[in-house]
């Protein structure tokens, strides 16, 4: 499974790419592979605010629905609308195709997330 350096990760298999006070959120390669062909994505609204670990989006394969959780507190500033028509972009390149861009409420929460090395270790344990 591909794990990119320089991203933050969660135990629920989201990634976070920080750019200043903002960040892109997506699903990891492991998550898309576990779900299988993704056929539907539900996105939040711009300006919606969420706390860390809130379900802010949902991705669904034929078989099952799965929530996507906020890695940190924040406000949605942009959503990737391309996923509405082409949900399988998340299968094709899970790191290029982000789900939402957020404004991070409290950057100190980033310290609670997993580094790439820590996330790789978690995957080793799951397999």
């Amino acid at each position: 499974m591909k794990v990119l350096k320089d991203l933050y990760y969660t135990k629920d298999h989201e990634w976070l790419r920080v750019e200043g006070d903002e960040a892109y959120i997506g699903l990891t390669d492991f998550a898309q592979d576990s779900l299988g062909d993704i056929v539907y994505v539900e996105l939040p609204e711009v300006d919606d605010e969420f706390s860390k670990e809130d379900a802010f989006a949902a991705v669904e394969s034929v078989k099952a629905a799965s929530d996507v959780f906020m890695p940190v507190d924040g406000k949605i500033v942009e959503v990737n609308e391309a996923l509405l028509d082409e949900p399988n972009l998340l299968n094709e390149d899970p790191y290029e195709n982000w789900i939402a861009k957020i404004e991070i409420a409290d950057k100190s929460q980033l310290d609670e997330l997993l580094t790439a090395e820590e996330y790789e270790k978690l995957l080793d344990e799951e397999v």
């Binding site: 299988g36 062909d37 056929v39 539907y40 539900e42 379900a55 949902a58 669904e60 394969s61 034929v62 078989k63 099952a64 629905a65 509405l84």
Partner: protein, 364 residues
């Protein structure tokens, strides 16, 4: 610890994603649910369904005994015919749905749901009364491979001298030499496509499976997992025990009255309650629906009308064949009219849906 079918190692070799289903380690998919589903609709797929329970009922009272247990009229079945039926509780709730293969008036093979095997056998023993029969669980010695799809006959014919085209739907032949082994072959399935089920001895299974895969190569045969098995049976409006029928959902509510012979001469368990319900009028009905808004309905989701709960979704999918979000729902019969608009509660938000004919593939 879940059990393994004789084909477990083959599933792993083929890249199957193994899950614990009804106490069995089985592949939910290999290459992917959608390509496997499409292979069955357009070419052929092969499924390991060895987890199913297989029970023999033998003895001079076999027919009257099964007539007492079953909702369908087994006296109408001929030798070498397969009949779909249910067993019910006295209140009309369903113990299980099953296939009965008639070997003779005093010998039947029953195929029951894996998750229900222990419960069913206990039920059969508890209701044995003075009937002169024996019940034999041969699940462990028997494996079943389902080959389904428009190319199924051409693929399997390469492996036997027995003329498969002579098998009518819902009939079977015993002692067929197939892939060099002795098998029972029936023209049956759970996908809505033409197809066959091959019953083999456990020790012959791996060899037969691989010979079928080889014979199917040029026809686009794919191994298919539990995921595709469910989407296929759902699109073909076939019920799944635990979803469309259960202890709490009787066959009349599920639209399966054809398989409940209320006018059968013999008494059967559940007859009185089902008859009463039918005469008084049903309160709930299983309907098909198509989502008008965005989302995918899933089993268990609440169904509302004007903000009031009227039922629940029993199965729902983004249909791989129709590319639409469709589902089955068990709802208040007053709201069950075709064309009626209902709300499916998806993550606590109502999404509009319209009631449509449950024979989804008719609109293919």
């Amino acid at each position: 610890m879940a059990k393994k079918t004789p084909l477990y190692d083959e599933h792993v070799k083929l890249g199957g994603k193994i899950v614990d289903y009804a106490g069995w380690f089985l592949p939910v998919q290999y290459e992917g649910l959608i390509p496997e589903h499409e292979a069955v609709r357009n070419a052929a797929g092969i499924f390991d369904v060895s987890h199913m329970g297989v029970v023999m009922v033998k003895g001079k009272d076999a027919l009257p005994y099964l007539q007492y247990l079953f909702t369908n009229d087994l006296s109408k079945a001929e030798v070498n015919q397969v009949m779909y039926t249910m067993m019910c509780y006295p209140d009309g709730g369903v113990v299980d749905d099953l296939l009965a293969y008639k070997f003779s008036d005093d010998e039947y093979l029953l195929v029951i749901n894996a998750a229900n095997t222990d419960k069913d056998i206990k039920w059969m023993i508890d209701n044995k009364k003075d009937f002169n029969i024996i019940i034999e669980n041969i699940s462990d010695q028997t494996s079943i491979m389902a080959v389904q799809g428009p190319s199924a006959e051409k693929i399997l014919q390469q492996l036997t001298d027995f003329d498969l085209s002579s098998l009518k739907p819902n009939t079977f032949e015993r002692n067929v030499t197939f892939a060099g082994k002795e098998c029972l072959i029936s023209r049956t399935g759970y996908t809505g496509e033409d197809g066959f089920e091959v019953y083999a001895k456990a020790e012959d299974t791996v060899e037969i499976w691989n010979k079928i895969l080889e014979a199917g190569k040029e026809y686009g045969l794919k191994p298919a997992g539990l995921g595709a098995r469910d989407t296929l049976r759902f699109e073909a409006s076939m019920p799944l025990y635990g979803n469309e029928i259960s202890e709490d959902i009787n066959p009349l509510e599920a639209g399966l009255k054809f398989f409940v012979k209320l006018d059968k001469a013999e008494d059967f368990i559940g007859k009185e309650a089902l008859n009463k319900q039918w005469n008084e009028g049903l309160k709930r009905k299983l309907v098909g629906f198509e989502l008008l808004g965005r989302g995918i309905p899933r089993d268990g989701y609440e169904v509302q009308k004007d903000g009031k709960k009227i039922g629940h979704v029993t199965t729902g999918y983004m249909s791989p064949t129709l590319k639409k979000s469709i589902g089955n729902a068990l709802i208040d019969i007053k709201e069950a009219e075709l064309g009626n608009e209902i709300d499916i509660m998806i993550r606590n938000k109502p999404v509009k849906a319209k009631i449509i004919d449950r024979r989804f593939l008719r609109n293919r």
